[in-house]
């Protein structure tokens, strides 16, 4: 039992360091928005936002221990189960979500969320094991290679983007918006703009850490290939904008594009500084709350001008984005 407690202690330390280092939830624009909006929103939005907040639970904290090392430790089957349960309880999202629901709804809702979290966690763990046995069910494998010199890079970048939960939060919002559009007798056009903003928001933090999933090893490869910095950064942006335009297409795509340009223009700054470690199947952690706030204000302003005043403002947004791409592309070319 002493050994088990030592492992749980080490795991808790690792999770805590991870939270401090990555600022994983606190600096995610969308999570902050959900946190603020949960108390103000109606029942429908509460369910959607609550569900989205539960997403981070699909990441297994026990994955911090290398599987080979875990298998080598002399633990009994019972200790193994205890370790899995303890690892679930270490997930900060469990406590945040449970606490939020107890506070905003009822203790029963909080307990329900904990049970739902356990189910999501178990399903995600099973899926990841299953997908290891049957690699062909990995849907990301089927993303086609795009044409052009950096087409392979864009393909890789789309895969990376679809390996983080931000994109799926956007997908849930997009599907919810489509259902609303089809099911409502008189759909409110203003709601489409709102959903576009929410989708853009859900993706925006990723724009601050475009190289996160490449890690140091992939980042070094970028310095070895004969490509300009703007080409490397542009391949990242192309993947981001492609996903954003697809998700916002049924609503207000031009406003979404304006928000995307601004999210990238600001996000290039922390991204070009180098990769910040980012685990897959988690929400991304942005560089800072202040930068995230600045990014969101610019995104919302640009999208509002394009949606309510003039589409021509999209050209200004594109110009700002191109300027940022050029400048931070040059920064990226600096070897050290």
């Amino acid at each position: 039992m002493a050994g088990l407690l030592t492992i749980v202690g080490a795991l808790a330390r690792a999770v805590w360091r991870d939270i401090r280092k990555l600022n994983a939830l606190a600096a995610n624009n969308f999570f902050l928005f959900c946190f603020l909006a949960l108390g103000q929103s109606g029942a429908f939005l509460q369910v959607i936002l609550g569900l989205l907040v539960l997403f981070p639970l699909s990441a297994d904290p026990l994955r911090k221990v290398p599987p080979e090392r875990l298998a080598l430790w002399p633990l009994t089957r019972g200790q193994g189960i205890l370790l899995r349960l303890a690892s679930l309880c270490l997930s900060p999202a469990v406590w945040i979500t449970t606490g939020l629901l107890i506070w905003l709804a009822s203790p029963l809702a909080g307990i329900g969320a904990f049970v739902a979290a356990t189910l999501i966690y178990s399903l995600a763990s099973s899926f990841s094991r299953f997908s290891g046995v049957l690699p062909e069910i990995n849907l990301l494998r089927h993303i086609p290679r795009l044409p052009g010199r950096v087409g392979g890079l864009i393909q890789k970048n789309i895969r990376e983007m679809l390996s983080i939960l931000d994109a799926y939060a956007g997908l849930v919002l997009s599907i919810a918006g489509i259902v609303y559009r089809l099911a409502a007798t008189h759909p409110e056009p203003e709601a489409f703009f709102g959903i576009t903003l929410l989708i853009s928001l859900s993706l925006s933090t990723y724009a601050q850490c475009l190289f996160a999933l490449d890690a140091e090893t992939g980042f070094e490869r970028y310095h070895l290939v004969p490509l300009r910095g703007w080409q490397i950064l542009g391949a990242k942006d192309a993947a981001f904008l492609l996903v954003l335009v697809i998700l916002t297409a049924p609503f207000a795509p031009l406003a979404g594009l304006a928000a995307g340009f601004m999210a990238l223009a600001i996000g290039h700054y922390p991204s070009a500084l180098g990769p910040t470690p980012q685990p897959r199947w988690r929400f991304t952690g942005g560089s800072s709350i202040l930068l995230g706030f600045f990014q969101v204000v610019l995104m919302f302003s640009a999208a509002t001008v394009v949606y309510r005043s003039t589409v021509a403002f999209l050209a200004v947004c594109a110009a700002v984005w191109l300027g940022s791409l050029w400048y931070f592309g040059r920064q990226l070319e600096r070897p050290d």
Binding site: P135, L153, K156, R221, V225
Partner: protein
């Protein structure tokens, strides 16, 4: 083909590479040896434009490492220390991605990729994602990436470490073959017996400085003797509790 003079790299107060000077001729296989932290990998990073020298100058394939970075990257192939692979791409997709970046057509990329995968015994792993590959497979993928565009100069950081003997022989055969065709190879390694078999030039580095530079034929005795004498004298501390 490689020429550096007084090449120096400092990180704050620490001097990783301290006035290194040597030349490597076309078609040579130059082994840069030294203990961990001696400055071998930093030297390779300086010569491959991954780091900027603090002082001194270096040319690779006639290109300045400071001012001709893009052209230099086209002329060289690199097996970096941490392999530089993307977890979200399969082995074959790495090669598909790299070909067009180096100006190869899709068909040429496919043809060369197929040959490289076969030569390196990776044909059955071509659809495996990099993060699902064994270390040896990852290393071979990184080597295939280094060779794909037919570079003039190859830089290999510890190519023989962590791989099986058959793969090791395959890599040695490939290096000997490309060197015979005029490709210059610079490699770092700790496996002296393998180095002794293929290297035509030996450079020993200790604490960021070159302490030996000669052709293999000019070695006074065995490479191991010279290494232990000049670079890293053996020390075997007593651990009395072990096995007691």
């Amino acid at each position: 083909m490689i020429a550096c003079r007084n090449l120096t790299k400092r990180f704050g107060d620490f001097t990783a590479v301290d006035g290194v000077t040597f030349e490597v001729a076309k078609g040579a296989i130059c082994a840069v040896l030294g203990p961990n932290g001696a400055g071998k990998s930093t030297t390779v990073k300086l010569l491959t434009a991954l780091l900027t020298p603090t002082a001194g100058e270096a040319k690779v394939a006639g290109l300045d490492v400071r001012n001709d970075r893009l052209a230099l990257k086209r002329a060289i192939g690199v097996l970096p220390e941490d392999l530089g692979l993307f977890d979200s791409l399969t082995v074959a997709e790495h090669l598909d991605l790299a070909g067009p970046i180096y100006g190869l057509s899709r068909s040429e990329t496919r043809a060369r990729s197929g040959q490289l995968l076969t030569a390196l015994g990776l044909e059955n792993a071509s659809d495996t994602f990099a993060d699902e590959c064994s270390y040896g497979m990852r290393k071979k993928t990184a080597l295939a990436l280094a060779l794909l565009h037919n570079p003039q100069v190859l830089f290999l950081d510890e190519p023989f470490e962590g791989i099986d003997p058959v793969t090791s022989k395959t890599i040695r055969d490939i290096l000997t073959s490309v060197a015979a065709k005029g490709v210059t190879v610079m490699l770092t390694s700790h496996i002296l017996t393998l180095v002794e078999q293929i290297a035509t030039q030996i450079v020993l580095i200790r604490q960021g400085r070159v302490v030996w530079n000669s052709t293999r034929a000019e070695l006074p005795g065995s490479l191991e003797e010279l290494y232990l004498d000049l670079v890293e004298p053996p020390r075997t501390p007593e651990l009395p509790w072990l096995g007691s």
